[in-house]
């Protein structure tokens, strides 16, 4: 049984074929990258896995169980977390509270126990403190101490991306979907992000499914790569195999080399 498997996945929006027969398998603990030109369907694929879109054909299996058609919160409950290409943070909460939301599924305080937060020793008080301690570990891990109590809306772009990663990690996922974690970052931030994603794999043992345009990052850290274009898979393989593949060069650099040279 594969850890995570996408089988012949297709999705149509009206007449538009966004994904057409995508299949791949993830082994536990690896970093698997999906690359492709803009509009190739990478984020659509993530949205299908997450349950935001409902695929037209095919199946998605996580640890042998189909997650196709499940609602996003049920998918999260199974241990799949993600970050977004266009930052989707809770702008009016501070960093701590944003990451605390990642603990949502692991907390038990309901309406009543929450409403009667009378002191440190109450159930809600104890639980809040315990989870804040856990979040503090993640804040330490990702070096976010300086923005701990600031509203995330006003933080720099790179930091916001980091907080998204932190929030996803707070879920303690088994599978982490990263949608362009390095987009729009400067060289230094990019290096840090590469380092952290590698750490997530090594230290936390999380399997990572990565979408990225930054080839340096992709080639550095991925164990295997899937290339898609116009919703169709082109090739799959290790970074060095993919780099040499003629179809990949065609998709990225165009067909007629003469035009480029001129």
């Amino acid at each position: 049984m594969a850890f995570f498997e996408v089988k012949n996945l297709s999705i149509y929006f009206g007449g538009l074929v966004a994904l057409d027969g995508i299949s791949f398998t993830l082994n536990q603990g690896e970093i698997y990258a999906i690359i492709g030109p803009n509009g190739a369907g990478k984020t659509t694929l993530f949205n299908c896995i997450n349950g935001i879109y409902h695929p037209s054909h095919g199946d998605i299996l996580f640890k042998g169980q189909s997650i196709r058609g499940k609602k996003p919160d049920k998918v999260a409950r199974m241990g799949i977390a993600r970050t977004f290409q266009n930052i989707e943070l809770f702008n009016n909460m501070n960093t701590m509270e944003n990451i605390m939301l990642g603990r949502h599924l692991r907390m038990k305080t309901g309406l009543f126990r929450g409403a009667f937060l009378w002191g440190k020793r109450s159930f809600a008080g104890l639980e809040e403190v315990a989870h804040r301690r856990k979040v503090e570990e993640i804040i330490d891990f990702l070096d976010l101490q300086s923005s701990r109590n600031k509203l995330v809306g006003g933080l720099p772009y790179g930091t916001q991306k980091q907080i998204e990663l932190a929030r996803a990690l707070a879920l303690e996922p088994e599978l982490l979907l990263l949608d362009e974690p390095c987009a729009g970052m400067n060289a230094e931030e990019k290096q840090d992000m590469i380092f952290w994603v590698k750490d997530v794999q090594d230290e936390l043992g999380v399997t990572v499914l990565l979408i990225e345009h930054d080839m340096q990052m992709v080639m550095d850290i991925s164990d295997r790569i899937l290339v898609i274009n116009f919703g169709r898979p082109i090739t799959e393989g290790t970074p060095s195999e993919v780099q040499r593949h003629p179809e990949v060069l065609k998709a990225y650099l165009g067909e007629n080399e003469g035009v480029c040279a001129a």
Binding site: N50, I52, K71, P72, D73, V75, A76, R77, A81, R82, F84, E88, L89, F90, N91, N92, M93, M96, E97, M100, L101, G102, H104, L105, M107, K108, T109, G110, L111, R113, G114, A115, F116, L117, K120, A124, G125, E128, V129, R132, R133, E136, R167, A168, L171
Partner: protein, 349 residues
């Protein structure tokens, strides 16, 4: 500075001595009010407390969860009629009747929350508006609810105590309002409140982090309706007489105005907004009795507007305040407070 700090600091109620001081001062003030003020002012404060309760609930829905309701007068009416009928027909004791009526309102809130899963913005406003109007229409047709003639509230008895005067009501209303205010504040600081805020700020991200939208959106509606129901139940006794006309659309809009003027998504803002507008509402009804100004307004109204124009002047003033807040201070009274605080902290720079 002490670097080793406790995580409980982040969520504790009294974050500093200053806060404790003001809280104690406020409590002392509230405790002596009935002994130093005239009866009319106690009535005004009771009226404020009821509006505070409703607006606290409305703020959880509109300010924290980012949904809208123009039908809160409906929940308010359900609470008011529910409490009265449960006491007169089912002979429940007052506090139990109030709680049950609040829960009935919550059930209606849950049901109204279901379409909210698919509707947004203006569409949701229209759906909730329809609900509010329907409730009063239906109540006007039901015999045990007194149809259009209305109902008299029975005597308010809790155990050995009879609540007759405004002063008596004061000692009932203020503790309930304080308890509900603390409950609302605590909810916003714990798991459920964070889920509400996450839905308001980034719905898709909230969903992918495991927040069940169906559950939390309907919960927000139910909770908000519960507050409105409790407020309504108390209102019936403060007024002693209820009729469908009282729970009109303008009341729903008034609740929303209080929340917006106070500052959505904050705790103290809506409380201040509810107090300010309740006070204005009662004062402006008597504006024609003010010497000179009253006469001038009357002649102005009679020569340019309708004869009854001035009797509803409070709505004109509220409309004006709402416009002013929207244009110049979107965060409401809370926003003004934040800026004032900042100004004095950094004064003279």
């Amino acid at each position: 500075m002490d670097m080793k700090r406790d995580y409980y600091e982040d969520i504790q109620l009294f974050s500093s001595g200053v806060v404790i001081f003001w809280f104690v001062a406020m409590m002392v003030f509230l405790a002596v009010v009935p002994f130093i003020f005239k009866n009319y002012y106690i009535y005004v404060i009771n009226f404020m407390a009821i509006n505070v309760i409703v607006v606290l609930g409305l703020n959880l829905l509109v300010g924290y969860t980012g949904l809208i309701s123009l039908g809160h007068a409906g929940f308010f009416a359900i609470g008011a009629y529910g409490t009265v009928v449960l006491i007169t027909q089912a002979h429940l004791p007052f506090l139990l009747a109030l709680l049950v009526a609040g829960l009935i309102a919550a059930i209606f809130g849950f049901l109204l929350g279901l379409p909210a899963l698919r509707l947004e913005g203006p569409y949701l406003a229209i759906a909730t508006l329809g609900f509010g109007v329907t409730v009063t229409q239906v109540i006007g047709k039901i015999k045990i609810l007194g149809e259009r003639q209305g109902l008299h509230a029975p005597d308010l008895i809790i155990g050995p105590w009879h609540f007759d005067t405004d002063k008596d009501f004061y000692f009932l209303l203020i503790p309930i309002a304080i308890i509900l205010a603390f409950a609302a504040r605590n909810i916003t600081k714990t798991k459920v409140g964070r889920a509400f805020i996450s839905i308001r700020d980034a719905e898709i991200a909230a969903e992918t982090m495991g927040v069940n939208l169906t559950f939390y959106k309907t919960l927000a509606f139910a909770l908000s309706a519960f507050y409105a129901g409790i407020g309504g139940g108390l209102y019936a006794f403060v007024l002693r007489f209820i009729e469908p006309e009282l729970f009109s659309l303008s009341l729903s809009i008034m609740f929303l105005t209080m929340a917006v003027v106070g500052g959505l998504g904050s705790m103290m803002g809506p409380i201040a907004g509810a107090c300010l507008l309740s006070w204005l509402d009662l004062q402006l009804r008597n504006i024609l009795d003010i010497p000179y100004l009253g006469e001038w307004l009357r002649s102005l109204s009679q020569s340019y507007f309708s004869l009854t124009g001035v009797s509803n002047i409070q709505y004109i003033v509220f409309g004006g305040i709402l416009l002013f807040i929207m244009l110049f201070e979107p965060l409401g009274i809370f926003g003004i407070w934040i800026r004032t605080k900042k100004y004095w902290k950094t004064w003279p720079f």
